[in-house]
C-alpha cells in the first residue's frame, strides 16, 4: 500500500523515462548531489500535499492536491561571450517542453486524478562553477478525491477462505448430538423429529486468492 502521492510519483517517473533529453536518467527521489557527468538528469519527488475538506456533513471527504516536483538539471561548457549560458537556457526550454508533453498528455496519470490544478515552473542558470549549470523546477499540482475508502483500516488478518454450510431441516438424525461444527449451538435437542441436528449435510468452501 502507499499514499496516492506514491502512485502519482511512480506514474510520473514512468511517463518521463525515455521521454526527454534526460533519457532514462529519471530518479525518485534522489537525495545525492548531482555531478556534471550525470546531467541531463530528472529527479521526481512529492514534497507537498494538501487535503481540503468537502464539507462538515457525513463521512470525511477531501479534495486532495498533491504536488509532484520534477527537477531537471543540465550543464554546458563555456564559450566566448554569453553563448554557454544561452545554450543552457535553450536546453532548459526544450526540457520543459518535453516534460510538459509527457506528463500533461499522459492517460495513465490523468485517469487517476480530477485535474492538473496548476503547474508552477521556475528555472535558473549559474556560472559559479566550472560549467554553466541550469536547473528547472516544475511543480505539478495534481487534484484528486479522497474519501472514507482511502482511510478505512486495513484488516490485520487476511480473509483467505469463505465457507457456506448447509444443515438441512428435512435430513436429520433423530437421536445423535453433533458437536464441533460452527453451528452446533443452533441444533434442536435430541431426540428430534426434524432438523437442524448440528451436522452439516453440505458445505461450499470458497478459497479467496490473496
Amino acid at each position: 500500500m502507499g499514499t496516492t502521492a506514491n502512485l502519482l510519483q511512480d506514474d510520473i517517473v514512468a511517463v518521463l523515462t525515455g521521454a526527454t533529453a534526460a533519457g532514462d536518467q529519471v530518479y525518485s527521489p534522489r537525495d545525492w548531489p548531482t555531478t556534471p557527468p550525470e546531467t541531463p538528469i530528472l529527479m521526481v519527488q512529492s514534497p507537498i500535499e494538501r487535503k481540503e475538506s468537502l464539507g462538515r456533513s457525513s463521512a470525511q471527504q477531501f479534495t486532495t492536491t498533491i504536488t509532484i516536483r520534477v527537477v531537471g538539471r543540465l550543464t554546458s561548457k563555456a564559450s566566448t561571450g554569453d553563448a554557454g549560458a544561452v545554450a543552457v537556457l535553450a536546453a532548459l526550454g526544450v526540457l520543459q517542453d518535453q516534460i510538459e508533453r509527457a506528463v500533461i498528455n499522459s492517460y495513465d496519470l490523468t485517469r487517476r486524478i480530477q485535474q492538473i490544478a496548476a503547474v508552477d515552473v521556475k528555472n535558473g542558470v549559474s556560472s559559479a562553477a566550472e560549467l554553466h549549470l541550469g536547473e528547472l523546477v516544475m511543480d505539478f499540482h495534481l487534484e484528486t478525491y479522497e474519501g472514507p475508502e482511502n482511510f478505512a483500516p486495513i484488516p490485520g488478518t487476511p480473509i483467505d477462505e469463505m465457507a457456506i454450510y448447509g444443515d438441512l431441516v428435512n435430513v436429520f438424525s433423530p437421536h445423535n448430538t453433533f458437536t464441533g461444527t460452527p453451528f452446533d449451538s443452533a441444533a434442536t435437542p435430541a431426540p428430534r423429529t426434524e432438523g437442524p441436528d448440528g451436522r452439516d449435510e453440505g458445505a461450499l468452501l470458497i478459497p479467496i486468492p490473496q
Binding site: 548531482t34 555531478t35 554546458s76 563555456a78 553563448a83 559559479a128 566550472e130 536547473e135
Partner: protein, 112 residues
C-alpha cells in the same frame, strides 16, 4: 608602494616548481596571440543550490588560477582563455579579481 610585492613575493613564490604549475600555462587573450605565464592553479570542490529548495545541490568544481599581472601587457579580461597543461584543459576566464598588489585570481570555466 614601499614594497615591490611582485618582485619580492609573487615572482619567487609563483614560479614553476614552487607553487606555480611545473609546465607554464599558456594565456590566450580574446584579442589574439598567446604567451606563457606563471600560474597557481586549483580546482576545489564547489557545491551549490540553484532553484530547488535545499538538498540535493550540484556537486562540482570551481577552477581558479592566480597570476602575476606584471606578465600581461593588457590586463586579463573575461572571455580570455588559458590552457593548463597539467589537467590538460582549456578554460575561459569568467571573472578577474585583482588583489591590488600585482596578483589576480582568474575564475575559470571549461571552454567548449
Amino acid at each position: 608602494m614601499a614594497i615591490d610585492w611582485d618582485q619580492h613575493v609573487l615572482a619567487p613564490m609563483m614560479s614553476a616548481g614552487v607553487f606555480g604549475e611545473n609546465v607554464q600555462p599558456t594565456f590566450m587573450p580574446a584579442a589574439g596571440g598567446s604567451f606563457p605565464i606563471d600560474g597557481v592553479f586549483d580546482r576545489p570542490y564547489h557545491g551549490l543550490v540553484l532553484e530547488a529548495d535545499g538538498e540535493p545541490g550540484f556537486a562540482t568544481r570551481k577552477p581558479v588560477i592566480g597570476v602575476r599581472l606584471s606578465q600581461f601587457t593588457v590586463d586579463p579580461l573575461k572571455g580570455d582563455k588559458v590552457f593548463i597543461p597539467s589537467v590538460p584543459e582549456t578554460y575561459i576566464v569568467s571573472d578577474v579579481r585583482p588583489d591590488g598588489k600585482g596578483h589576480a585570481v582568474l575564475e575559470l570555466m571549461i571552454a567548449a
